[in-house]
């Protein structure tokens, strides 16, 4: 693998961001609004909930922050890919020596850069306006973020593969994916709240382990490393499956001529 080719994808994203406020603002504006909105909701709920030992700030606002991070990671991958869709650049890109691994690595590196901006803005706003310190999660903060990052990458790769396979109009299948998953992973409530069939699905989703772990810490208990490793292991597995899926879709696209014919029209 030549990292310079993956770096070219990142450089292209940098060029696009540098010259386009409409691309820069979404990196931090929506997440900042989310934090402000949920910050006030949390503050209000704090005034009507008087349960002892219940700290809503890290349980609710912290959960929103972590979930938004995962969403931004996923969108970081898909947005970098959509730039090629929107500029009808597939033929130019895939008729080069760049390998699939280099291309996907470029998308992931772009996502690291863009999602980091969102994460920093959320942490600053949540801390400065509502007094949330991420240090409340202790040493578990790093593995929590890592699991969410890995799963966000996996979702992003799956999203790009779906759009590559079904055509540009399929991007509307991609945007709601985090919203579809959020009821299952227990962002705002313990998994025990869910019916058993939903809990079974939850156990297959890495973020479930993060949010359960987060609530355990907020309740003053310690999280077992087995739980975190379970979430991490699943996230790595999903990345491998997502990469396999993308590779299969790409090969199908090369076999059928989809890459050469990819245009503004859906091919589904």
């Amino acid at each position: 693998m030549r990292l310079s080719r993956a770096a070219a994808i990142v450089l292209r994203q940098f060029y696009l961001l540098r010259g386009s406020p409409s691309r820069v603002f979404p990196l931090f504006v929506w997440v900042a609004i989310d934090i402000v909105l949920w910050g006030f909701i949390t503050r209000y709920l704090g005034t009507i909930t008087r349960e002892p030992g219940m700290d809503l700030l890290p349980a609710l606002l912290g959960a929103v922050l972590l979930w938004d991070f995962l969403t931004r990671v996923m969108q970081g991958v898909t947005m970098a890919f959509f730039e090629d869709v929107w500029s009808r650049n597939f033929l130019n890109v895939f008729a080069t020596p760049m390998t699939i691994a280099e291309y996907v690595t470029g998308l992931v590196l772009s996502s690291i850069a863009t999602s980091s901006v969102g994460l920093v803005v959320m942490i600053v706003v949540a801390g400065a306006v509502f007094g949330l310190s991420m240090l409340v999660y202790g040493a578990m903060l790093v593995p929590f973020l890592l699991v969410l990052f890995l799963f966000g990458i996996a979702l992003g790769i799956v999203g790009t593969a779906v759009v590559l396979r079904l055509g540009p109009s399929a991007e509307w299948f991609i945007w709601p994916i985090p919203a579809l998953l959020s009821p299952f992973v227990g962002v705002f409530y313990p998994l025990s709240t869910l019916p058993s069939w939903m809990q079974a699905i939850s156990r297959l989703l890495p973020p479930s382990y993060v949010f359960e772990g987060m609530r355990t810490i907020v309740a003053g208990d310690s999280v077992s490393w087995t739980t975190v490793l379970m979430g991490g292991g699943l996230a790595v597995l999903y990345i491998l499956l997502a990469a396999l899926f993308f590779t299969r879709v790409f090969r199908h696209a090369v076999r059928t001529g989809l890459i050469a014919r990819y245009s503004a029209e859906s091919v589904s």
């Binding site: 060029y15 033929l91 008729a95 020596p97 390998t99 090369v254 059928t256």
Partner: protein, 253 residues
């Protein structure tokens, strides 16, 4: 054109086929592009020219057959084979939301061009693009966009240059200039060019050899200046029209 294995042709296509279900788009064609040679790939719409070029570019998998670029098997070592190629096509404009220099740097990195800044400056001069260096490609005229696409196609000094109707949107003066540059590219370097065009005047002026395709097959090949007479036609255009309308007459000739 005989080539030793140590000095292979820049492009070797053997028994290449592409079919979609019951439709045969390319039907067992074989040809070579030698060093310092410009080969014209001609034929009516739907003849299989772009399908052939897409297969050579590695974005379309052949049903059967082999493609070697600079002696490297495209199906086995795709990335290495494509390091020797580049292309410009009227249907593949560069991203319009990047400037000329940004596009050239982006693709220069992908192609692994050494001292890319120097190379970009040289190409900006060569293709008269210096004044557009910080202009977004999307707002350039179609002729200017074609020049940028050609500059991108020259970035890695390709051994095999694929040009799909490169002068289709250019005025006659600019088109002549571009043709001169392409001829210069083959004359001074060691590369070869596979060129498609519907402009028979241009083909006669530029190509050393032409391949006439129809219904996925190569029906004729030879020197574009001699081929019409060999088949009882006055001009290359007349021969083209015969290929387009009565391919069977030539196939059985």
């Amino acid at each position: 054109m005989a080539e030793s294995s140590s000095n292979p042709p820049v492009l070797s296509v053997r028994e290449l086929c592409k079919s979609y279900a019951s439709t045969v788009a390319v039907d067992g064609i074989s040809f070579e592009v030698g060093r310092n040679e410009i080969v014209g790939l001609l034929g009516p719409n739907g003849a299989g020219k772009t399908t052939t070029i897409n297969m050579v570019l590695g974005v379309l998998e052949p049903t059967s057959g082999a493609i070697h670029i600079q002696g490297v098997d495209l199906s086995k070592r795709r990335s290495q084979a494509l390091e020797y190629t580049n292309f410009a096509a009227v249907y593949a404009p560069l991203p319009g939301n990047l400037t000329v220099v940004q596009n050239l740097r982006y693709f220069g990195m992908i192609y692994g061009v050494k001292r890319v800044s120097e190379r970009i400056e040289a190409l900006l001069q060569e293709f008269d693009l210096a004044r557009f260096r910080d202009t977004k490609c999307g707002v350039l005229s179609s002729g200017e966009q074609t020049r940028v696409a050609l500059a991108k196609a020259m970035l890695n000094r390709p051994q095999l240059l694929l040009l799909d109707e490169p002068t289709a949107s250019l005025d006659p003066s600019t088109a002549r200039d571009i043709r001169a540059r392409i001829r210069d590219f083959t004359a001074k370097g060691t590369g070869g060019v596979l060129w498609t065009s519907h402009n028979m005047y241009e083909v006669e002026e530029v190509c050393d050899r032409v391949l006439f395709m129809s219904r996925g097959k190569v029906l004729l090949q030879g020197d574009p200046r001699k081929l019409p007479q060999e088949h009882g036609k006055a001009t290359l255009e007349e021969l083209f029209i015969t290929v387009a309308r009565e391919p069977l007459a030539l196939e059985h000739a």
